[in-house]
């Protein structure tokens, strides 16, 4: 989230699209209710189902899953055509005025540089025209036909209300009502917030779904302001934290990157990371990259990371592919190229697409380790549960080691919520049996492995042998010790560069925050964006002062928010070019002639002049990007692409199937279905009574929602002769499930490009372990393909068939 849960109270219009906060984030959704009750805010819900969020909305519009970009570009087109634009914001705070380089073009669903054989673009023309002064050329008058604003205008022109209706199935008048309501927020005194979740990410073009809404929010001037923003409602309690700390194939903590093979040495690695400003006087904060990288290396390898060895640059692995993401690694496993796998609190047998392939892949492992508080399906993938897990144990040669870990109630530490608040929690219970904390388990695995390398040697043991492990009890580092290491400390005494006799921080002391980190090896910090969380003032994540001056929703003394305890990102953009708030009633920070101050920690240097330094300090431009240059694989502007399994052909570009640059593995292509074979458009979702595959282990939740079902319209039920509550078989080209049919008015058929499209809803909470009745999940059916930029699987739009059937045999 750019903003926070408690900030939603400040909004005028909530748009829930690509999520269902009332059911999936119920206590956060209360702030929507609060805004409605106290500010007269309105709520729009756009979803294939009439969800519980929709049931309390002021306006609901149906949409076919997988067509959000057409809808959103339609909204952008509406705002541009009807002059519903916050002009001063767009002209000063976005790259609307920047001129795009000659050679860049768009036609028939593709941008310049497409190579069909590689399923990739040469993105060299997706760039600004650079002037003789080395800066991007701009046209303040917006007259140049090649400035971003005019390029965007022509790009979205075909997304008319009629085209939106044809692609999305949203009736034209409903789309226009939504467009009219949203466009009112183009004035500086009205703000809209976007609340979205997996309904936008789990598509082969998920990143562009989110980008399209971010562009709309920029055009309306809604980024950086109270009650505005792009608010990703993250799915798990610490999925934000795990992303921030970089537990991804291609990341280092704090959104730094793991090197790739062509970055043969540290100098080469840094050469593409100079982040020279693209406009005069801009911050371009990533110019500090080297300080954060070197401080991370020092945290990892201490005295073994020296200036002479490029701070142990070669200790890091180098990637030969963009990432060894979960789809790639299961594809490799399927091909017998993976021997061992460790699942720490993760249940891939139910979480990854095409379950049949997942089972076959796990069966090819030599060994599997699971670390979990609960008895998961993954740890028992080899066990026969009749129809629910029809495997032959005797033929599965995988050794499985199941380790019992503690749960939240038995552990200390911090979790980062959607609003980037790092909240500390304390253990209150004794773990059951011999269950152990994760820190103990990881320390034990590491110490045993290191001991083997000390004793036996082996290939390149240096990163293992030299890993910083200076914990008071090496068998179990404490959460406090680790939090201090994440925050960072002075490796050597730090002197003032302006006055070398003046000591700024003594050796061994905690750094105050990332602003004092250095690139010479004198500071260490495990995750720079979290620096400030545990400094000499103590554990700031454990702060519990819930006062909120003037009821802004900031709660600055409650726990700690990254970065620098800032509660609303880009908050400089809440004020105009003179530094005065766009909306005085929603002041966030303001310029007093010499500095910025206000209710939040300013997201800009405190003395940066408002008419000189742009608010988007992380970008080389200082402005936000309506045109993304070459930073996204599938285009600098979003384009409507159908899901890989779609009920109709792509109306914009009929020859293109799915996202033209999404990675596909050859065997999976044969398993993509057409609408002739599989006529119904399926989607997956959560229920309010369950959390993924955990709560089926809980008696209360198992009572509340005891058994698996699928949800279909009355019309589809009538066509297929399915009675409410009867058993149905739902199958795709990859597998099948049996479920009770819930026949509902919440789903209605949609008319798309002249064809009636039926939607089948499939909730995701059942398996073969726990208290609830045995069942299946959508991953038995879904295709093995991910988003073109980040490889999130396409769970939200795929094709199935459905028929009446008999109940599954009980086991």
């Amino acid at each position: 989230m750019t903003n926070s849960w408690t900030d939603i109270r400040n909004t005028d219009l909530v748009v829930i699209m690509g999520g269902n906060a009332a059911e999936a984030h119920p206590c956060g959704f209360k702030w929507v209710t609060e805004a409605k009750a106290n500010r007269g805010a309105r709520l729009i819900v756009i979803d294939p189902r009439f969800t519980r969020s929709a049931s309390v909305s002021d306006f609901y519009a149906p949409i076919r899953q997988g067509t959000d970009i057409a809808f959103l570009l339609g909204l952008i087109n509406y705002c541009m055509q009807n002059d519903k634009v916050q002009w001063p914001y767009v002209k000063s705070f976005t790259n609307a005025t920047y001129v795009v380089k000659d050679g860049f073009a768009y036609q028939d669903g593709l941008f310049t540089g497409y190579d069909e054989s590689k399923r990739d673009y040469d993105r060299s023309t997706w760039e600004y025209d650079i002037g003789p002064d080395g800066f991007a050329v701009v046209d303040e008058t917006l007259q140049n036909p090649r400035c971003v604003w005019n390029m965007l205008k022509s790009h979205v022109a075909s997304y008319t209300p009629e085209m939106v209706e044809r692609i999305c199935g949203t009736p034209r008048e409903k789309f226009l009502k939504v467009a009219q309501m949203i466009s009112e927020c183009s004035v500086p005194t009205k703000t809209m917030t976007s609340m979205y979740a997996l309904g936008w990410t789990q598509h082969s073009k998920g990143s562009q779904n989110i980008r399209a809404m971010a562009m709309l929010q920029l055009i309306l001037g809604n980024i950086g302001v109270r009650g505005g923003g792009m608010n990703a409602l993250r799915g798990h309690s610490n999925i934000q934290g795990l992303t921030d700390v970089g537990l991804m194939s291609n990341l280092l903590p704090g959104y730094l990157n793991i090197p790739v093979e062509k970055e043969t040495d540290f100098t080469t690695y840094m050469s593409s990371r100079t982040f020279k400003p693209l406009r005069p006087d801009q911050t371009s904060y990533w110019q500090n990259y080297k300080k954060f990288f070197v401080s991370f290396q020092k945290a990892m390898w201490g005295s073994a990371a020296t200036a002479e060895n490029d701070f142990a640059y070669q200790y890091l692995p180098k990637l030969d592919v963009p990432a060894y993401d979960v789809l790639r690694i299961f594809e490799m496993m399927y091909r017998g190229q993976v021997n061992g796998y460790v699942c720490q609190g993760f249940n891939p047998l139910l979480a990854f697409p095409n379950r049949k392939k997942i089972t076959e892949s796990l069966s090819k492992l030599k060994w599997l380790v699971t670390i979990d508080p609960l008895d998961t399906e993954t740890s028992r993938f080899w066990e026969n549960h009749g129809e629910y897990n029809d495997v032959n144990s005797a033929t599965i040669q995988t050794e499985v080691i199941q380790l019992p870990s503690t749960c939240f109630a038995e552990d200390n530490g911090s979790l980062t919520n959607s609003g980037r608040w790092l909240q500390w929690h304390w253990a209150g219970g004794t773990p059951p049996g011999e269950a152990k904390r994760d820190n103990w388990i990881m320390a034990q695995i590491f110490r045993r492995l290191r001991a083997l390398y000390e004793k036996e040697g082996g290939p390149f043991p240096d990163p293992i042998l030299n890993l910083t492990w200076n914990y008071q009890n090496p068998d179990e580092p404490t959460a406090d010790e680790l939090a201090k290491e994440i925050n960072g400390y002075a490796v050597e005494t730090l002197y003032d560069p302006a006055d070398p006799t003046k000591v700024l921080l003594e050796k061994g002391k905690q750094v105050v925050n990332f602003s004092v980190l250095r690139d010479d090896g004198t500071t260490a910090s495990g995750c720079w964006i979290y620096s400030g969380c545990y400094n000499e003032a103590g554990n700031n994540m454990a702060r519990r002062d819930n006062t909120d001056p003037d009821d802004t929703g900031a709660y600055l003394n409650w726990t700690f928010a990254w970065p620098l305890n800032r509660r609303i990102l880009y908050n400089r953009a809440s004020a105009d070019l003179q530094g005065n708030p766009w909306d005085p009633s929603r002041k966030l920070i303001a310029w007093d002639g010499s500095k910025w101050s206000g209710y939040d920690v300013p997201d800009i240097a405190p003395t940066a002049k408002p008419d000189v330094v742009g608010p988007f300090i992380m970008n080389q431009e200082g402005t936000a990007r309506l045109f993304a240059r070459g930073l996204m694989r599938d285009g600098p502007f979003p384009v409507h692409y159908e899901p890989f399994e779609a009920p109709i052909a792509n109306v914009i570009a009929p020859k293109i199937r799915g996202n033209p640059v999404a990675r596909i593995f050859q065997d999976d292509v044969a398993q993509f279905a057409t609408s002739e074979e599989f006529p119904y458009a399926a989607t997956s979702y959560r229920l309010t009574e369950h959390f993924h595959y955990w709560t089926k282990h809980n008696r209360v939740n198992a009572v509340l929602q005891p058994e698996f079902f699928v949800e279909i319209s009355e019309q589809l039920a009538a066509e297929k002769g399915i009675t409410p509550g009867s058993w149905v078989r739902v199958w795709s080209k990859r597998g099948e499930v049996k479920a009770k049919a819930v026949v509902t008015k919440r789903i209605k058929p949609l008319m798309c490009d002249g064809k009636k499209v039926h939607v089948v809803g499939i909730p995701l909470h059942w398996g073969f372990m726990g208290q609830a009745r045995k069942g299946w999940g959508p991953n038995s059916l879904t295709p093995f393909v991910g988003d073109a930029n980040i490889e999130t699987p396409e769970y939200k739009a795929f094709l199935v068939n459905i028929e009446s059937t008999t109940p599954p045999a009980t086991v």
């Binding site: 849960w5 119920p26 206590c27 993250r234 610490n238 999925i239 700390v245 537990l247 194939s249 903590p253 990892m300 070669q314 692995p317 180098k318 030969d320 060894y324 993401d325 979960v326 690694i329 993976v338 021997n339 061992g340 460790v342 993760f346 891939p348 990854f352 609960l374 005797a394 040669q397 995988t398 050794e399 080691i401 199941q402 019992p404 870990s405 109630a409 911090s414 959607s418 608040w421 909240q423 929690h425 304390w426 253990a427 209150g428 219970g429 004794t430 994760d438 820190n439 290939p459 390149f460 959460a479 680790l482 939090a483 994440i486 409650w558 369950h690 709560t695 008696r699 939740n701 999130t792």
Partner: protein, 199 residues
């Protein structure tokens, strides 16, 4: 009665009152006293309160866990009740149907208690000691890394990559566990490293 009591202070006082004999002071007759005595004593009396956050979605509602026994004194602590934290700015004491049933997760029948091993081809788990399980894991990792570690690519550039073992991290662990996990996994050269953020 003109006393200023916090909400929980009031509940505690009320709990003690019902269990004790102070009802007479309020002028209740024997009948009411007998009825009151039959009511179950307030269950949170003499429990330890611990602040925590809900482990499910990313709203991260504040919760209070009530336990018999105090971990900080080195005692065994059994959690007997969990409720919303009224002081928390986001949820202000409320919880959803998942959060309200958190105690059932803590005490689920399918909570794991002991390390187990399933041998190749077997149809069952067998209990092992932690030492056996951990030594085995370290041995399996070491042997595979030694056999399959890619130190350099064809051009002789160090790539320090281990692709035959993967690690999936958990989005419900703490940041501190995540960081420790990061250190351990990265030091080995594992590149198949991901968490739920990918799905």
């Amino acid at each position: 009665m003109n006393m200023e009591l916090s909400r929980r202070g009031f509940l505690k006082a009320a709990g003690v009152g019902v269990a004790g004999t102070t009802l007479g002071a309020f002028g209740f007759a024997d009948l009411e006293a007998a009825q009151a005595a039959a009511i179950r004593p307030f269950k949170l009396t003499n429990t330890m309160e611990t602040r925590n956050t809900c482990p499910y979605c990313s709203v991260a509602c504040g919760i209070i866990m009530y336990s018999k026994g105090d971990l900080r004194k080195g005692e065994m602590a059994e959690i007997i009740h969990i409720e919303g934290d009224a002081d928390h700015p986001t949820n202000r004491g409320t919880l959803c149907p998942k959060g309200a049933a958190l105690k059932d997760f803590v005490k689920a029948d399918t909570r794991l208690k002991y390390p187990m091993v399933r041998k190749p081809g077997s149809d069952r788990f067998e209990r092992v000691s932690w030492d056996q399980a951990l030594d085995r894991i370290a041995r399996l990792m070491k042997d595979d890394r030694d056999a399959n570690f890619i130190a350099t690519n064809k051009a002789g550039v160090p790539v320090n990559r281990w692709t035959t073992v993967g690690f999936l991290a958990a989005s419900a662990t703490t940041n501190e566990t995540a960081y420790l996990t990061y250190k351990v996994v990265r030091s080995t050269g594992i590149v198949a490293f991901d968490n739920q953020a990918r799905v």
